[in-house]
């Protein structure tokens, strides 16, 4: 799978101190690797490769272990993602109810395939591991906005911001989580 390279970003300043500070609650707890990387991602929007050495020291695991974990889990991003992350459900029901055509429409419009970022760094396309709200398939999500029962014709409306989505229920994609009272009903 080809993954386009978004514009290079400099190593964030003060990374080491910040990561040590963020990971203080997990110090020496090697079972909390995934949670630790999620915390880093919350702060930077992705997990900077430079942070792994520090994180590995803090947790007491090898840098390779963390690198493996980072590339294993769907919601951990090893490189910067676009300003907006488009997620399309990859579950069976959504697939059966029209996701292939929706993906084709997204590709025609933005030139994106899975895991790719537009050259201007605006959009990244990722699969959404099924929310299991299959009664509302197909599901498309942009950042924290969710659109249900999406038709291929609606893709343009969604991308242009002309269709109203449902706020909340974001999964761990590194974007700042809305306050709990907004997520909770």
């Amino acid at each position: 799978m080809s993954e386009s390279q978004p514009p290079r970003r400099a190593v964030p300043a003060g990374l080491e101190e910040r990561v040590r500070q963020l990971l203080a609650p997990f110090r020496g707890d090697r079972t909390m690797t995934v949670d630790a990387l999620k915390v880093i991602q919350q702060a930077y929007g992705y997990v900077p490769p430079e942070s792994l050495r520090v994180a590995a020291e803090e947790l007491g695991v090898s840098e390779n272990t963390l690198d493996g974990i980072l590339h294993f889990y769907e919601f951990l991003f090893p490189r910067p993602v676009g300003e907006r992350v488009i997620r399309v459900c990859s579950g069976t029901v959504c697939q059966a109810l029209g996701v292939p055509v929706i993906l084709r429409r997204i590709r025609e419009r933005l030139g994106l395939r899975w895991y790719e970022t537009t050259p201007d760094g605006k959009y990244t396309l990722m699969p959404l591991p099924c929310y299991n709200t299959c009664a509302y398939a197909p599901i498309l999500q942009i950042d924290t906005l969710t659109f249900v029962r999406v038709t291929p014709e609606q893709v343009d409306e969604i991308l242009d911001g002309r269709l109203e989505g449902v706020e909340g229920l974001p999964c761990g994609d590194g974007k700042p989580t809305p306050p709990r009272e907004e997520v909770e009903l």
Partner: protein, 563 residues
């Protein structure tokens, strides 16, 4: 505090809550409901109440399983029964409040059912409606009725009777009861739960763990979500009983990251239980102590595999270890561990409270008890139903989920790597573990995906295989290479570049993947391919020989189309 005092207080509060002196509006707030617009409905309801100058309590509940009817809400007026309405738009909800609360018009046109024994204003009682009359709700019995974040609601509805009774029994007696009840794992493999517990109970070592597998990754299955969002206390009670029966003092619940609402509700429930001494040290005054750690996943299908899940909790990639040794002897941190699915554990409190005889009397002779199944795809009324085993699948798919009998092609049961069978055949089968196994299939996790005539089977299998390939952890090569080989071959076929020998190739490599793979992921990855080649060969043939997609879904490459 003893359970009796807790329950007496809770019952008092529940009585006052369900016999209110002001209107109650209860909004159905599961993930489905929120996606369907429950928040806007709630805002509209609050606005309408303000306009009417009515003092009412606006509450929330979990999903009752009628996903097609979301956004739903229940209204109870003082001295009247509780009536459910749906589906609603925000404007419709505001109008409904004005009519029902403001004018006392019961709005029979929008009503679904009433919580009462007899019809009310012509609205049928819940248990006499088409969707509920066949159901026997055990794990879902409180879902959609109680507030999932209010412990009193749960205690007033039979909560913690099971644990209180379990604490009067020895662990071996609890295991024996679960064994005699005939409870089998609801995650897919249907292994007898009591037997699993017995292995762990007998395993040596003082440090043992209970893990609740809430990584419900199978697309089309949301029974566990219904339990966690609708009645999380029951699940935690079940985990606690499992811990008591197995001699564990610490448990984990691993919730997938795609279930933020379920995770939040389970966390809230655990906090409330701790505050009342129902989780923590010396539960209910006994010398049994147990605490629960809640862990969130990060998006990996393999975390649903028990060994993968254990690796993930240990802080590693979710890579399965080889079995044996089984988790019952060498599980989490290589200590004896019981890993059970959410629904399995949620059945336990009622089995202990009401006795194994009751549970064993449900279902059929060979498949005992009840099972929640979810139906989605090409159906008009997708939803979740808790049914006793033995109900014909024809009833489930055509009557409960209201699939269009003329628009049925195939049904997939239980996850992306499960059987895809012609709908005509599935409609002849009953719901049952052994009954389906006899017919050469399995109900897996109980997620029924109905595939309509407009779907292209090779393309559907291609998408499934892309998912299975991406989620293969890569530890053992038959799975890693096999799913890749399948994906590449299917991609070629779907582009119109298939070769005549492709189908035989895919059938030929199936045993290598099935028998060579380390865990369940690879062992069943061939199933959708083999099934569809067996039952839908004609569709593959059109793609390969005529280089076209009859449904117009596949993108035939220009090169292939020109030939």
């Amino acid at each position: 505090m003893t359970l009796e005092t807790l329950v007496a207080e809770a019952r008092g509060r529940w009585e006052r809550k369900t016999n209110p002196d002001r209107p109650r509006i209860i909004i159905s707030a599961g993930s489905c409901g929120i996606f369907a617009g429950a928040r806007k409905v709630k805002a509209a309801v609050v606005d309408a109440l303000k306009r009417l100058h009515v003092d009412a309590s606006v509450e929330k509940t979990g999903c009752v399983g009628l996903c097609w009817a979301e956004p739903m809400l229940d209204i109870q007026l003082p001295g009247r029964p509780r009536v459910a309405y749906g589906p609603l738009t925000p404007a419709g909800a505001a109008q409904l409040i004005e009519d029902v609360v403001g004018r006392g018009n019961p709005r029979v046109d929008k009503a679904l059912y009433v919580y009462a024994d007899a019809p009310y204003e012509g609205i049928p009682p819940r248990d006499q409606t088409d969707w509920f009359k066949l159901q026997y709700r055990v794990t879902q019995r409180n879902a959609g009725i109680i507030d999932p974040e209010d412990l009193d609601d749960y205690l007033a509805n039979g909560g913690y009777e099971g644990l209180a009774r379990a604490l009067t029994m020895t662990p071996a007696e609890v295991v024996e009861a679960v064994k005699k009840a005939g409870l089998r794992g609801c995650g897919g493999a249907a292994f007898p739960t009591g037997l699993k517990w017995e292995f762990c109970l007998r395993a040596r070592g003082t440090e043992k763990y209970v893990i609740c597998n809430a990584d419900e990754g199978n697309a089309g299955t949301w029974k566990d979500r219904l339990i966690m969002e609708g009645d999380p206390f029951q699940l935690i009670e079940g985990i606690t009983i499992a811990a008591y029966a197995n001699g564990a003092s610490r448990g984990f619940i691993y919730i997938r990251d795609e279930y933020p609402l379920a995770s939040s509700r389970v966390r809230t429930a655990a906090e409330k239980l701790r505050a009342r001494g129902l989780l923590g040290d010396n539960i209910l005054g006994s010398n049994f102590s147990f605490d629960l750690v809640i862990r969130d996943g990060a998006g990996s299908y393999l975390c649903g595999e028990e060994m993968g899940l254990i690796s993930s909790i240990e802080g590693d990639r979710a890579m399965p270890r080889s079995r044996p040794p089984f988790p019952a002897t060498n599980g989490l941190f290589y200590k004896p561990t019981v890993v059970n699915n959410v629904e399995t554990l949620a059945n336990v409190p009622q089995i202990i409270a009401r006795g194994w005889e009751w549970y064993a009397g449900l279902g059929t002779e060979r498949s005992k008890g009840v099972r929640t199944i979810t139906v989605s795809g090409a159906v008009r009324r997708p939803g979740g139903f808790e049914l006793p085993f033995g109900v014909p699948l024809r009833t489930v798919i055509l009557d409960l989920a209201q699939a269009d009998p003329t628009d049925l092609k195939a049904v997939q049961m239980g996850g992306p790597a499960s059987n895809i069978l012609p709908a005509d055949f599935v409609l002849t089968l009953p719901l049952g573990l052994d009954e389906l196994r006899d017919a050469g299939t399995t109900m897996g996790s109980g997620g029924f995906v109905v595939v309509g005539r407009q779907s292209c089977i090779p393309n559907l299998v291609l998408q499934l295989m892309e998912f299975l390939r991406d989620e293969s952890c890569g530890k053992c090569f038959p799975c890693q290479m096999g799913t890749r080989a399948y994906y590449n071959t299917l991609l070629r076929i779907c582009r119109g570049e298939g070769r005549p020998e492709d189908l035989d190739f895919m059938l030929d490599i199936a045993p290598a993947i099935q028998f060579g793979s380390l865990c369940g992921h690879g062992q069943v990855a061939h199933v959708p391919v083999v099934d569809t080649i067996t039952h839908f060969r004609a569709e593959y043939d059109v793609h390969i020989r005529e280089r076209r997609c009859p449904q117009g879904i596949c993108e035939i490459s220009p090169v292939a189309a020109a030939v």
